[in-house]
Amino acid sequence: MEEKELEDKELLRLLMEQPSKGIEAAMEAYGGAAKKICCAYLPGCAREDLEETISDCFVALWQNAGKFEKERGISLRSYFYGIVRRTAMNRRRRLSEEGKYDSLVEEDTSSLPGSFLTEEVVENKLLAEMVRDMIGHMPPPDDEIFRLRYLSQYSEKEIAAQLKMTVKAIERRIARGRKKLKKQFMESGLL
């Protein structure tokens, strides 16, 4: 985790101080993922449009590098995936408004590369990535509380007893964490 945070920091520094190097590094790290996500939301769209969308994602990353705060409680990667998803959805909306993008094209996936993932799969992947990432970033014992609550399905009372904290404390931490997750879901358009 620490190593990843260092990587994030280094990448952010590059993006801010030497954008061209930063973008290159970001594309190296996240390029493949950005393409897969964009493909899932824009199946069968023109190469030109696809690449335009991907470049928009990296521009947005550069623009938000200064704003990306470590207390978001999320890794840069997950944060970026959120950006990509939103960017791709916006592009799809715009293209279909312009009549350039027919939703029927979605049916024709034969021309797409073998690594193509459907929107649903990508959606679930993004969600999983984001949830795991954010819970991983929670300070103890919040991470444990979330695992007990949502993975093991313990009640607040049970968790309180296990962790020797009051029920109130558990409720509060869950409410806080949920709020953070909600914000992230909303920003990524998953909610």
Binding site: G31, E51, E69, L117, L127, F146, S155, R178
Partner: protein
Amino acid sequence: MKKEIEEKIVNGMREREEDLLSGSLEEAEKIRIFNRTMAKIDILKEEQMYGNKKRRNVVPKKTFAAVLSSFLVVGLAACAVTYHYSEGFRAYFNQTDEKVEVKGEVVLSEETYEGVTVQVKEIIGDAYGCYIDYLIKNEGKTKLSPLQAGEVQVEGLADSLTILDPVLVGEEGDTAEYIVGIRTSESIQNKECRLILSNPGAYDAADNFVTAAAHDFSFDLLLGYEDSSTEIEVGQEISIYGGKAVLEKISISPLSVTVFLKETEKFTQYASDLKDGEPVNDELIVRFTDGSIRDSYRVAQDYDIFHDTTVISMGFHRIVSMEEIENITFAGVTIPIHENVSKEEEFSYQSNEMGIIVNMQKALFDLVTPSEPEEEAGEMFMDFQGEKDGVSMKLFTVYRTEGFFTAEEMKKKEPKRIYLEGSEDYTYSLRIWEPENEEEGQAFLEIQETYLAKLKERIRLTAYSKGKVSGSARVAAEVLKVRKEPSFYADTVALLPKEEAVELLETDGEYYKISFQDEETGYVLKQYLLVNGDKAALQ
């Protein structure tokens, strides 16, 4: 909405851990995208520079940035009752006493960044916690006001501590004053700590947090106090956490109470190791001579408590002298402090529908008539009408709002209400009404001052009501445990699969009693059922 988020969390956690999103771009593709990206960035950079120049002309740059490198020595409350403290603390601790002298303006330290100034004004505290009074000033750079810190961190104290949500205690023009509390299980005497207030900002109309100055405002503080706490040796054996311990002593300061245990028979690590029906037994209750109670299991609003296994510290959220404490109970052991003080007899109104008990002194009880609970726009409320000297006025109202809100959120929603407590299902608040005319004022002024000012502490929530319900629901969890009793200690009688239909029989705290598959019955946690007709189920 809550259910939807929870569903997403559960689904997200269940998804298999493999990264389908890995892979890379083809070389040619990469070059094309890179060129496009950089072209756009160059255009934006130009715009940004132009924009910056323009802005610089409008707002002259402030030059009084204060960089702090040395530590400040801060005196904490020695004997808080006669201690002089700021107006902010007075508001925070609900201290209405006239005898308390308010200290003049003190600024311990300040830092300015991009037109936002953060000042640390004053700190009071005791061995296991402190409260820091700070201001955030927005020099009119943006229209956002009042600003609040995006995040509050404290470094250098204990590994683990509770940082309370900052509470807004004052607001004037572009300046907001907050108190943030810290509670730990290790003594903070002579500890150097760093308070970091990050990225102050405010919520805009669309409820997005907008940062006004992306910066960590940090303050190095050296904490020291003169000990004024009273220690009471107890030495009694108690059963706790599934083991045994000696309740060694209780330490009481004007701000908090701390209990110290010595483990004599190993505590269980997990609740599941507790025997049937065996309680955790770590409830800490302080009873005050004025009839109010502070209970660690129901610490409303502030959550000013820290648990270690052998040290438990709870803030009073008021400033008290020993004379004001009647007794302290921990793990069922009651230690009398000032029990012989003649106590005013207490009367109470209880509403099972609302789940509240309102305790009142006789003088207040005699002139109050409660209304039946009414419902309006997702809220249930009860008005308490007062009648005195032929004048009738609405004295106070207790509200139960659906959903969980923090004190801060409630303040935004209903600024005139006093926050009582929020749980997963409901948030309780209280409104004390001001007299509307002279007549009302004359009749009720004394009542207002004597009884209503501290009414908040007299309202108990019976929280989860129990009763018959009807309706059907389906299982929302992947697998749902059905228990014999409405308790996690109870045996599991069945496991129900997702989407299984059940009938609701009773509500009991966090649980529903249900019947399922050929009239079998048992208890399940409410949050894992989607009740038919429920909003969440319709979505």
